[in-house]
Symmetry: C2
Subunit: 547 residues, 2 copies
């Protein structure tokens, strides 16, 4: 059964594949080529080492070349780049970084896990600048940290509001640097929909300067000046370019292996490319969306690790399928946790999938126990059969738990009707007797059942402008703190006595703080012959966007 | 569709049922009888108000009689006890606490949610004591807090090591009181198995005095002296009796409704008793174990709330089934979180269900990011088909999340083979690229597949005593900190070179720190013709028990 296996790339996917290959078979010859100095390092920890949260650089090195070679009996060749795949004779050409020496090595099976690299567009003035960095590996990290330690930058510009950009913004802010984030889209954190991202915008703006819907046109004065498309100019002592990554697909492309529209290497569900002896995994590949089965790219560590294990199994004939990627993602963004799994509304709209969405803002744990904060959750689902498509969460604490529970529910094929059935752990420091996930389930299943009709934050202003009746059922003290323009206030407790004030011949729109009392109002109204429609997420969701 | 509905008990189950009944139908007449002063209070918060974590007593009152009556148009009669159910004429007899006045009230449908009360055995000297309390409701809380505030007790004895006992121990300790916990069993927290409870024992012992396998024989000197079965005597200025609860079943029993072996009112899966117009929910009823379908009792808030909603639906003909209780439970025990869901090993053994169990101790989040601690998890499952039976978790943080994920997996019918597939949210502050739940799945599925044979902490000493070979594959520095007696040390990195030292004609037992390196060793050994068996959870699980 002994095979000669070559792995390209020695970090998340590659190292995991190597370890699992060895566990399956002691006799194979397993060679790992890594063009960098380090294998198996903690990519995800890099921003925190720059920020000082991780103090010890050695902690970033999960495995060393020597340690891992010994433990798993591997032939690890770092500082050695694979420069070509010669499919006809099943060899790779490699080049040693230090000497430039080239040679070929043969394989029975080849695994590509070369990752993805930061996108660097040809911006005017980029090449002359000294203070512009991207972040992918340990040398990049050393450079950025060295610059911060030695040059003591006062102002930094982070270009791109994805998770790496925001993590860098947080960590530079930790170092006492004044940070400006520039993002081309109208929102940060693409896995979120706009109103959820708006919560993040508000928080980020209290820690850094956030510029949305603007891009970089040029760098001037060796990078000290960043000129934006709008004409705005920013001073910068340090600029991080983090506008996304693109798959390292050159080896595959040059070997004639097909790649997808966005450049991801195409593999089947056993992670095999078109060539029966070449597999590819990790950031470099195109995957199927778990729910919708459309091709997508999810350059994250869980998929890379999972695929590393599966590819090893398949090389040894176990025939394990990779079932697709949900895209579960999370980031600490200053004091917030921001997370998502599955499909957001933007994606569902683009794919033309029928969906509904609900918003809730319950407390992370029992309201009477200190330390709880609202968890804003948005669930997307199929209103016909209740199938869950995805969830987004933003809050101070307890967000990761709810996202993980729903990621599990999706993988288990549960519907919104099953969410109220989830018997989750409750004591006051952890949750409520009805967990926020149960609550999402109750609300969504009421909608799927037709027991509740809802309207969304982005629709309500137009409805009111068109003469619709919007009733705010909060107490006057709450309304005084801010309300939707044009709403009339009838507190819930008085609603039954004031029904005569309302029209019964057309829809009545209801709002409250988070949606719960609005729902109670809809129950009263509906049974009294009215046609109530509740605002999803209440004033809280509305005001995220209309702050 | 209008009905006259009576609910007995106005807290978790009762109040939830009332609210949902009203949401379904505006026209019903809904009467809630509550013998105490308060409805809808936060039972679960009571210990924290005594300890001072919750400062404001009003926060314990989730809804007031007035507020809830108005919001839901309810006829709430507090300080009114239901003393009899007259099934023949569909009435209840009630008695007003303040005046002693009695009257009857008729019902179309009756819902019993009377809860459970603390068990108070007839211990010698109990009646003469002034300083012995049980905790169930607000008046109990006021009494205990008053005693602490005014009598300034120095020493307290908590009898019973269940979650209420441990929460009280923590909260009295918070108040500067020297606490002794007395527990009759050999462990605290019955939902855990012994070795998992042992982790709790060690922690609790650093904060309080823990006496196991001993019970109270008598109280002397008006409760100032607590005499144990062992003869030991404890001083006490304040004693909490928290040895468990028993269902409030008298009303049901006197009305001839069947109860189970432990006194829980028997209901069908629509929560209806034998009488078609009488339903029962909450702590007072017997439920089915979700996995094994045996009768059990789970006096917790989630089931009471869930059943409150379901019973209302069923009264209105929606025919919703209660699917059984997993028994998901959690408690903060000083700095630890202790949680469980599903069936533990003790239960599975008692029920004669074939099972296997695995132990892992991964970090709560990426090891290189500060603030992580080990999460000790034990998973029970069916080794034939991989069905998940339950999980227990103990740790400083991140425990609730993993328990909730597995509770979701169980409700979704997932097997151990599905756990590695769970795409959980990973960034360094939250998890690892392979979450602890994924890890449980990998380990358990290796066992279910026959790729890994394991032995348990409680078996290994005897195996060594009988001449078995036990190899510790940790490094010598680790072994020096403590090892299993009789083990020989062959560090993993040297194993391939030292195979000749090992016997190939019989099983070789392997241990390491947590089980991972031991597993790597088994892979090497098995492929070299040996018969390796790994110690589940490694030295860490072993030393929990053999400290
Ligand atoms: C700053 C940062 C923070 C991140 N944070 C998170 C996070 O919080 N959560 C999360 O899930 N993911 C995070 N990620 C993403 C995660 O690290 C990647 O998804 C994962 O590492 C992908 O694994 P991979 O094996 O595909 O690629 P990599 O881990 O990038 O490994 C690819 C390796 O292949 C080498 N290589 C490439 N081409 C060749 C060649 N021709 N010859 C030899 N070697 C080659 C490269 O040098 C590289 O070391 C983060 C990434 C970065 C950069
Ligand atoms: C100190 C403490 C801490 C707890 N912590 C947790 C926790 O962290 N997590 C968790 O899940 N659960 C916890 N619980 C348990 C949880 O509170 C119960 O499971 C839940 O309240 C049960 O709901 P129920 O409606 O069955 O009974 P209850 O909420 O107890 O309500 C029953 C009510 O019925 C009234 N009643 C009884 N008989 C009559 C009668 N004949 N006439 C009129 N009224 C009557 C009683 O006075 C009582 O108010 C805790 C309980 C206590 C006491
Ligand atoms: C370090 C690295 C090489 C580890 O790979 P790995 O060996 O596959 O993973 P782990 O060390 O987690 O071990 C998992 C294996 O141990 C087993 N295992 C884990 N805990 C165990 C226990 N307590 N008892 C028995 N077996 C256990 C699992 O079953 C699994 O084995 P299997 O795949 O044969 O079933 C790889 O993950 C890596 O390079 N990581 C750093 C890079 C990276 O991921 N970066 C992105 C995130 S920052
Ligand atoms: C307070 C109490 C009466 C509330 O009961 P409840 O009304 O059933 O529960 P909630 O207030 O959580 O509201 C849930 C309802 O609001 C709906 N809802 C919640 N959030 C919503 C939102 N944002 N938008 C629309 N609807 C929402 C749910 O769908 C559900 O309605 P449904 O059952 O008709 O589907 C009851 O839980 C109670 O007495 N609790 C205290 C006692 C207790 O539980 N003790 C033990 C734990 S300490």
């Amino acid at each position: 059964m002994s095979k000669k296996i070559i792995i390209v790339g020695g970090v998340a996917g590659g190292a995991t594949a190597a370890a699992r290959l060895r566990r399956i078979d002691e006799t194979s010859h397993i060679t790992v080529f890594e063009k960098g100095e380090h294998i198996s390092f903690a990519n995800c920890g890099l921003p925190y080492y720059i920020g000082g949260t991780i103090e010890d650089r050695d902690k970033l090195l999960v495995q060393t070349v020597e340690g891992m070679s010994k433990k798993f009996n591997l032939d690890i060749r770092n500082l050695t780049e694979v420069t070509a795949i010669n499919r006809a004779d099943q060899t790779v050409t490699v080049k040693k970084a230090e000497t430039g020496e080239e040679y070929t090595e043969s394989y029975d099976e080849l695994v590509l896990s070369p990752g993805a690299r930061p996108i660097v567009p040809p911006i005017d003035g980029l090449n002359e600048a000294q203070n512009i960095f991207t972040l992918r590996n340990i040398p990049d990290t050393d450079k950025i940290k060295g610059w911060v330690d030695e040059e003591h930058p006062k102002k930094a510009v982070v270009i791109g509001g994805g998770f790496i950009g925001l993590e860098m913004a947080e960590n530079l802010h930790e170092r006492g640097i004044d940070v400006t984030i520039v993002e081309m889209a109208d929102q940060v954190m693409a896995p979120l929909d706009y109103e959820m991202a708006s919560i993040v915008h508000e928080h980020v703006s209290s820690k850094a300067t956030l510029i949305l819907e603007d891009g970089v046109k040029a760098f001037r004065e060796n990078g000290k000046k960043v000129v934006l498309a709008s004409g705005k100019e920013l001073e910068s002592d340090l600029t991080i370019l983090s506008i996304g990554v693109r798959p390292e697909n050159e080896l595959a492309v040059n070997a004639g292996l097909p790649v997808g529209q966005r450049g991801g290497i195409i593999v089947d569900d056993t992670l095999r490319t078109e060539d029966p002896h070449i597999y590819a995994i990790g950031d470099a590949i195109e995957v199927k969306d778990f729910n919708q089965r459309n091709p997508t790219m999810v350059p994250l560590a869980w998929p890379a690790n999972r695929q590393g294990r599966i590819v090893a199994d398949n090389i040894y004939g176990k025939n394990v399928k990779y079932k697709g990627t949900l895209g579960t993602a999370i980031a600490k963004v200053f004091d917030l946790t921001v997370a998502a799994t599955g499909n957001n509304e933007k994606t569902l709209r683009d794919l033309n999938v029928p969906y509904e969405a609900v918003h809730v803002h319950p407390a992370s744990h029992a309201g009477y126990y200190p330390g709880g904060f609202p968890v804003s959750l948005k669930l997307t689902f199929n209103p016909e059969d209740g199938r869950i498509y995805g969830v987004q969460g933003v809050g101070i604490n307890g967000v990761d738990k709810r996202i993980d529970v729903i990621a599990t529910a999706i993988k288990g094929g549960l519907t919104v009707y099953d969410l109220p059935e989830l018997e989750l752990a409750y004591a006051p420091p952890y949750s409520s007797a009805k967990d926020p996930v149960n609550m999402l389930g109750y609300v969504a299943s009421n909608i799927a059942d037709g027991a509740l009709e809802i309207v969304h934050h982005h629709e309500i202003d137009r409805i009111v402008a068109d003469g619709g009746t919007l009733v705010d059922v909060r107490n006057p003290e709450e309304v005084a703190m801010g309300a939707i323009p044009g709403s009339i206030n009838i507190p819930l407790d008085t609603l039954r006595d004031r029904l005569s004030e309302l029209p019964s011949d057309r829809k009545i729109y209801i709002t409250c703080q988070v949606g719960l009392r609005g729902y109670l109002a809809t129950r009263i109204l509906e049974q009294n012959g009215f046609q109530p429609v509740n605002l999803s997420g209440g004033y809280k969701t509305y005001s995220c966007v209309n702050a």
